[in-house]
């Protein structure tokens, strides 16, 4: 499960002083659940997701994910945590442009220390329907295909947590539906905890839990 307590994150402000992005946020997402974090631009959604992934450390408060207190982990342990425990999907895909689809997935599998990483990477690509295009580089793939490669990369190590930051934000409606459908299938197959950051209330409504952020504060949290 994911448990956040009294989470605050501030950044130094360019004008001096500090800028509070998250303030005293507490929430819990049970193991295997799906949750949406909703809110307008600048409300702190992505920062919250980054803290859950151990990409940044909070100014105050604690983050517990899959029974680990991320604040207590060293940088090396955090890297291992990200490789084995978390699968991340970004709005703008973030594939390595100079590697083909298979290599992009394979790198994640190897960082997670999987045995037979090559076969597992192939299998993940097959799962998202891109087995035939495994040797294409991102420049040769459409936006929807790139996001499916990113999905394969996120799930190749079968992580217990899936974190998605606006995964359909850069796609047209048809591709967005396909990617979202895949995401839900993978969530069910893996029995993973799925956290989805979005400002699309329609997508949020399809999640088991929804949390709403506004100006860095949690203003609503409910079971869907």
């Amino acid at each position: 499960m994911i448990e956040l307590r009294g989470l605050t994150k501030t950044y130094p402000s360019p004008e001096g002083g500090s800028l509070t992005v998250l303030e005293d946020v507490s929430l819990a997402i049970p193991k295997g659940a799906s949750a949406a974090i909703l809110g307008p631009s600048g409300s702190g959604k992505s920062t919250l997701l980054g803290l859950m992934a151990g990409l940044d450390r909070p100014t105050a408060g604690t983050v517990r994910v899959a029974d680990q207190d991320l604040g207590a982990l060293s940088e090396v342990a955090l890297a291992a945590f990200r490789a084995r425990t978390v699968g991340f999907v970004f709005q703008s895909f973030h594939l390595l442009a100079h590697f083909d689809a298979l290599q992009n997935v394979l790198i994640a599998a190897e960082l997670a220390g999987l045995e037979d990483a090559g076969a597992k990477a192939e299998e993940a690509l097959k799962r998202v329907g891109l087995a035939e295009r495994r040797h294409h580089v991102p420049g040769q793939l459409s936006g929807g295909e790139c996001q499916r490669v990113a999905l394969a990369r996120a799930v190749v190590a079968r992580p217990p947590i899936l974190l998605c930051d606006e995964p359909t934000g850069s796609l047209d409606a048809k591709n967005a539906d396909r990617v979202f459908g895949l995401l839900k299938e993978l969530h069910q197959d893996l029995h993973a905890t799925l956290v989805l950051v979005t400002h699309d209330a329609h997508l949020g409504a399809q999640m088991g839990l929804t949390f709403a952020l506004e100006r860095g504060r949690l203003v609503d949290g409910q079971h869907g």
């Binding site: 992505s46 920062t47 980054g50 992934a53 990409l55 940044d56 940088e75 090396v76 890297a79 291992a80 945590f81 990200r82 490789a83 084995r84 991340f88 970004f90 703008s92 973030h94 390595l96 442009a97 100079h98 590697f99 290599q103 790198i107 994640a108 190897e110 960082l111 997670a112 420049g139 990369r153």
Partner: protein, 850 residues
Amino acid sequence: MADLPGGLAFEARVAWRELRGSWARLLLVALCLAAGFAAFFATALFSARVLRGVRAESRAILGGDAALTVNGLFPGGLRERAAALPGVESSTLLYDFATVAEGNGQARLVEVRAVEGGYPLAGRLTLEPAVARQAGAVYGERALVEGWNLEPGALVSLGGRAFPLKGILAFDESRQASAFALGPRLLMDRADAEAAGLLTARSRLSGKLILRYGPKADPKALETALRGLAAHETVRVRVQTHEDAAAALAQPLRNLNRFVQQLGVMTLLLSTLGAWAILSAYLGARARDAAILRCLGVGPGGPFRIYGLLVLMLLGLALLLGFGAGLAAAAAVPRVLGDLIPAALQGGALGWPPPLESALAVLLVLLLCLPALLALRGASPLGLLREGLDARTPTLLTGLCLGAAALAAALLLVRSAPTPAAGWAMVAGLGSLFLLLYGSARLLVWMFRRVGLRSPLPLRLGLGQLGAKPTLTGLLMAVMGLAVFLTLSAQLVKDDVVGPLQAQTSAAEKPNLFLMDVQPAQREGVLALLAKEGAKAPLEAPIVRARLVSVAGRPVVDRRNAERERDRSEARDRGEDRGEGFRTREQNLTFRDRPGASEAVVAGRFWAAGGPAADEISLEEGFATAIGAKLGDAMVFDVQGQELRGRVTSLRKVRWQSFQPNFFIVLHPSLLKDAPALHLVAAEADPGARARIQNGLARGFPNVTPIDVSEILGKVDRILQTVAIVTRVLAGLMIASALLVLAASLLAGRLGRARDLALLRTLGATDAVLLRSLAWEFTLLGGTAALLSAVLAWNLARLYVVRVLELDSSPSLVSALVLLLLAAALTAAVGLAGSVKALRLKPLEVLRGE
């Protein structure tokens, strides 16, 4: 349209904002170009100043407007005839010779100049104290006077007569033309030298008549008249105008300048290539911004002008910085060069850089940037945004720009070469080398990516980065490769050329004192003197002076000057001029029963030691080629009126750098057993012993000329050290340019690199994995380029030394390995240092910033 954003003021403001926004990476581009311009301007400015100095000082170098020079005594009547020519205002006759001087209980070889009143007719002669030169006295250079602790009035013995020292010869402008001297100069009166018996027909001396022209003289007509007079003499008379003297002095300087200038041009080309790679990548990445500006209403030519202005600003900054640094470097060069170039030639203002070359350099940069700029002009805003910002210039236009840039680069190289033919050969060589390095780099990246698919993750990530921008990687590797190639090949050739000489200067038990003209009756006494002073391993060689009469039945005619002068220019064109000089000069013959330690027989067979009498001759192979002699040819010599016949039975290769007594012509001992021989004795002695030996020779054997080779080698060594420093500085500049190019390209691609590193960190990569991948990437980049070019440099330098310089080649593996490792390590260090900032960025910030 009037309401739309546009106009030059608007475009200049946007360009200025762009410059401020990306100042760090653009400053590196400017610095990169500035380093190249600095090397180019420094070498060009310094060369121009030296050559201008030579021209300005030409009369002073010769001592007048023209000179007639002969070996030996000046022909009677020639002076009067020359002085009587219309336009000649005055003349002075002088003699130069080397002899042993004694003073204050010490003796050494000195160069004496015996002059008349009125010397010099041009240029500066400074005596200390500043009084008029007196007859019956001598004036010595400071090195001699202070070295011997001579007080004013102290006696200096020359040819058995003592002369009082009246002062110090502080400066003689004509002395600048002599790069090498056998010893310090002594100035004396010609009449005193004659009275002391120093000027006789048997003496080794050179007579020179210097003429000064009147203000209305016609120099061309006088030169023709002087050549006419010289042509009627039976002895060879060399006619030299002050322009000839300047040209003769300028030639080696010009060669040195050309070498330095070529290195400067190559450094400029390296940095231009690097700046091109970075600017192209930078301008390519501005396609989106250009499209946005177009969407906002900027006209079709707007982005072209904005980024064109930016390029011009960078170029202006680079020119300014490069010119400043070049001026500073050119001003500092005299201190580095020391006395390699006469100090008087280095003075004066530095002037301006050569306009044509400078314009070509600027044009080169602009032509290289033009395709990327035109791509911004040609792309439609909507298409750009929709098609993934893939702005392309028409292939034909790109080809034309690159072709014109290649031509500008080629012209720059040709202008810095000694001849256009040599320049175009160099262009072809360097062009092929660049294409080879670039092609190999692309091929290696392709191979790495395929072979490396199963390699460990950090290596695979490093290879992935190398393959991400294959053109940039190829260019970076070619630039680094060229820098390593030029550095290593210059170093290896220099090692092969100067190594044996430097070994000689420092080696123990090698001859450092040569005694010339030891008569047979003096031989025992001289050897006893050497033994008494502890000189080691004296080597002896008999010398018989002779004239060559015929080769293979072809007579060698010592033609009159007129005939010789007429044929000289044609012969020079055919490369035969050297042969005539070799054939007609006085030959030094020797005899021995086995080849010397520094020579090897390369054709035919050397006679057996102690064998029966035979008419065999062994020639040095280069000399044989020059005089047109082959194995089996008959040769006839005139030895003091006696005819001596023999045939060529072997050719030898001689290691001239060995400083052993080496000869072009070696005869079978039976051929010369009755000939009047003098002896050359070479010995090795410590400095104190050498001084005592010279003193002993001056007293007991005044006709024997001692030459202290270690003094000459000391000067050679200083010159070689200077050349080595200059080579290293320019080589360092080339490597630095290549590293600057790498640093600038890293800065230009920092965002993409930061994104990839952030992404990998998100996927769980640790710092160690990322650092290893970066180390692999840059070590492979520098190491592969260096390895490839080191292999090329090693083989080509060897080929050049053996085939062109005809020297033994033993390139240093250590030099190659050190440079290879250094290039790889420096590339890795610069690469890692340039990536640290990207590595430290927080992944979330980077990924959200996209």
